[in-house]
């Protein structure tokens, strides 16, 4: 019962506001569907493809384009040591260790190259999808608002059938 119309508390302020709005609509000060249009406009803005996301895609694309696809290398360690005989040990061990490291580095670089190629393809595809969508959304927004203006104009034309 609490939700039935007769139990809604009487609010003279709300009633007065509604009356004022109705009067101004009749006077022609307010366009007929002003409230609905404002709410629809907000909904369109909220659901629009976010510019921030497009900017993030552009950033990611730039970062991927500037990545070194073969970033790994065997570090060069100077064959010196403060320990007695350390330099000799370095010289003896370095070629063997370097050879093994070189193989690991080569595998990592192959993986990085493949990953770079895929990341490039993904970011290119995202950019290609995002830009036309943003353009299309603004075009649809513009068309929707244009249509709303036409609808308002048509609604404002007096009905000739009822006159004659």
């Amino acid at each position: 019962m609490a939700d039935t119309p007769e139990h809604i508390p009487y609010d003279p302020v709300a009633e007065r506001l509604a009356q004022l709005v109705a009067e101004r609509r009749v006077d022609g000060r307010y366009p007929p569907a002003l409230d609905d249009e404002l709410i629809a406009h907000h909904d369109r803005v909220v659901h629009r493809s976010p510019d921030a996301a497009l900017a993030s895609i552009a950033d990611a694309r730039y970062a991927v384009a500037n990545m070194d696809p073969r970033p790994f290398s065997v570090p060069s360690v100077p064959p010196t040591s403060s320990k007695p005989g350390g330099a000799y040990l370095h010289k003896a061990v370095t070629p063997t260790v370097t050879r093994h490291l070189q193989e690991v580095v080569e595998q990592m670089n192959e993986f990085a190259t493949t990953l770079h190629r895929h990341l490039t393809a993904i970011t290119d595809a995202l950019a290609a999808l995002g830009v036309p969508r943003a353009d299309l959304t603004s075009q649809l927004d513009a068309m929707e608002e244009h249509l709303a203006r036409i609808t308002r104009s048509v609604a404002a034309i007096p009905d000739s059938d009822s006159d004659g």
């Binding site: 302020v13 709005v21 002003l34 404002l38 709410i39 406009h41 907000h42 803005v45 909220v46 921030a52």
Partner: protein, 112 residues
């Protein structure tokens, strides 16, 4: 249409969807477009949702509300004619009715 200079509506709420700042933006649009054009809107609050704030700014730009401003806590703010928070706005009141309420409230404060 102008009634006085320098009226300021101060909206105090965090920038997050739950605050529904768009309601005051829409009402402000109606107020300055159809009732009086000498009012500024200042929305001030914590940036809890930057994407929401960006969307609101986009909406404000598209409605061409040049006398509105989003501010952060701690910024220098103008003296408010009226200050509102989300709990001041009843549910079920549309932008035009809310604009009428703001219009009446501003006139009341200015005539005191």
């Amino acid at each position: 249409m102008a009634e006085s200079n320098g009226a300021v509506i101060m909206w105090r709420a965090p920038f997050e969807p739950a605050a529904r700042t768009e309601r005051i933006v829409q009402a402000y649009h109606v107020l300055v477009s159809f009732l009086r054009d000498d009012v500024r809107l200042v929305a001030v609050g914590a940036d809890l949702d930057k994407a929401y704030r960006a969307r609101l700014q986009e909406e404000v730009n598209e409605l061409n509300l040049t006398a509105s401003r989003f501010a952060s806590e701690g910024e220098e703010l103008p003296t408010a004619t009226i200050t509102l928070t989300p709990s001041d706005i009843p549910e079920g009141v549309g932008p035009t009715a809310l604009a009428e309420a703001l219009h009446a409230l501003l006139a009341d404060r200015e005539n005191r």
